[in-house]
């Protein structure tokens, strides 16, 4: 095992541990942890079996295998950022729906309260 492998191994283990810890503390939703863990696991495997990285680099036409590592990292970051944009868009939609529901309900509440006040002032005939 060369030095790069050891650094990668420790780095991946630390990274995976950090994500599991955040899920365990209920600070990170499982759904969003999965992508992170997928890429953490990928780096763990690459550090244990470097030939996979070499094979991948050869397949992709990358002359210098560590550069393939950068390419994979970049891909992982892009995918996770895209996931964030999608989640954010969905949240924006949900916030809009909620704000609209609040405005509509508030108006209904005011109308009902007005009605109630009127009824209290003028009790119905027995």
């Amino acid at each position: 095992m060369n030095r790069m492998q050891i650094v990668m191994l420790l780095g991946s283990l630390f990274f995976l541990g950090m994500i599991l810890h955040q899920v365990w503390r209920q600070r990170l939703k499982e759904a969003y942890a999965l992508l992170w863990m997928l890429f953490g696991g990928m780096f763990l495997i690459l550090s244990l079996y470097p030939p996979i990285l070499h094979r991948f680099a050869a397949l992709a036409g990358i002359a210098y295998p560590p550069a393939a590592l950068f390419a994979l990292t970049l891909l992982a970051v892009f995918l996770i950022l895209l996931q964030y944009s999608i989640v954010l868009s969905k949240k924006a939609d949900e916030v809009r729906r909620l704000a609209q529901a609040v405005a509509l309900l508030e108006e209904r509440l005011e109308r009902l309260e007005r009605l109630e006040r009127l009824e209290r002032r003028e009790p119905r005939e027995p």
């Binding site: 939609d93 809009r96 704000a99 609209q100 609040v102 405005a103 509509l104 508030e106 108006e107």
Partner: protein, 244 residues
């Protein structure tokens, strides 16, 4: 409670300067209509001033949603409360209340689901308009007319009428960002709504400021064109239809 007839949706953001006059004019012209002010989290007294007139139902949004989200709130109100017809006018008094019956006539006669008050139906493309604005108007005219398959002269007009079918559709699918008017036309046209334009004179705004300034208009143009093309590419069944 008698069956409600016309619902006038008035989206407002910091329109304290003219909301009172706008409501008074609407009430004078259409005493039987229900006026719904949607206050898009104004930082001035728009909501309070609308309330004291006693002429309008005021829907106050807790956060600023932008004009699209505000209009949709009003249309949802109209849809939920069983209105047969709705009108949207801008909160700045650009749209004369006296023109509303003409705007609604094609819907009443069963010829249209959705009507647009157009400034340009009799030719011309913008009185006292800036160069950039004229380009935008022509661009949307060409793009939307092609996508809808019908000549639509004024795609940026905010003066619009809705029949029940268009009302239900818009309550679920109204474009929820700033500057939604051109996209709305494409959404309506591509989803089988019959569109009729009605020639309408419009006034200079009576107060407040336009929500679109020059610096941001290029950005909006790109964003809106992108949204229009995506809306046109989407098949009908992908629309939210009855989303709640």
């Amino acid at each position: 409670m008698k069956c409600p007839e016309i619902c006038v949706v008035i989206p407002c953001h910091n329109e304290a300067a003219c909301i009172g006059a706008v409501l008074n004019e609407l009430h004078r012209q259409l005493p039987e209509a229900v006026l719904v002010v949607v206050d898009d989290a104004s930082t001035d007294d728009t909501a309070a001033l609308a309330r004291v007139t006693g002429l309008a139902t005021v829907l106050r949004l807790p956060t600023n949603l932008g004009i699209g989200g505000a209009v949709q709130t009003g249309l949802r109100y109209a849809g939920d409360n069983g209105f047969a017809v709705a009108v949207k006018v801008d909160g700045d008094g650009q749209h004369p209340a006296s023109e509303i019956p003409a705007l609604l006539r094609p819907i009443r006669e069963g010829r249209a689901d959705f009507t647009i008050g157009s400034r340009f139906l009799d030719g011309g493309d913008g009185f006292r308009s800036t160069f950039l604005r004229r380009i935008g108007i022509r661009l949307f005219r060409a793009l939307n007319s092609a996508l809808v398959g019908q000549r639509i002269t004024d795609n940026t007009s905010g003066f619009r009428g809705y029949g029940r079918r268009a009302l239900e559709f818009a309550a679920a699918n109204y474009p929820a960002f700033d500057y939604p008017e051109p996209e709305e036309v494409v959404l309506m046209g591509r989803n089988g709504m019959r569109i009729v334009e009605v020639s309408t004179p419009m006034r200079e705004r009576q107060g407040g400021r336009s929500s679109i300034n020059l610096r941001r208009s290029v950005y909006y143009m790109i964003k809106v064109i992108f949204a229009i093309l995506m809306a046109a590419a989407r098949p009908r069944k992908m629309q939210k239809e009855t989303a709640r």
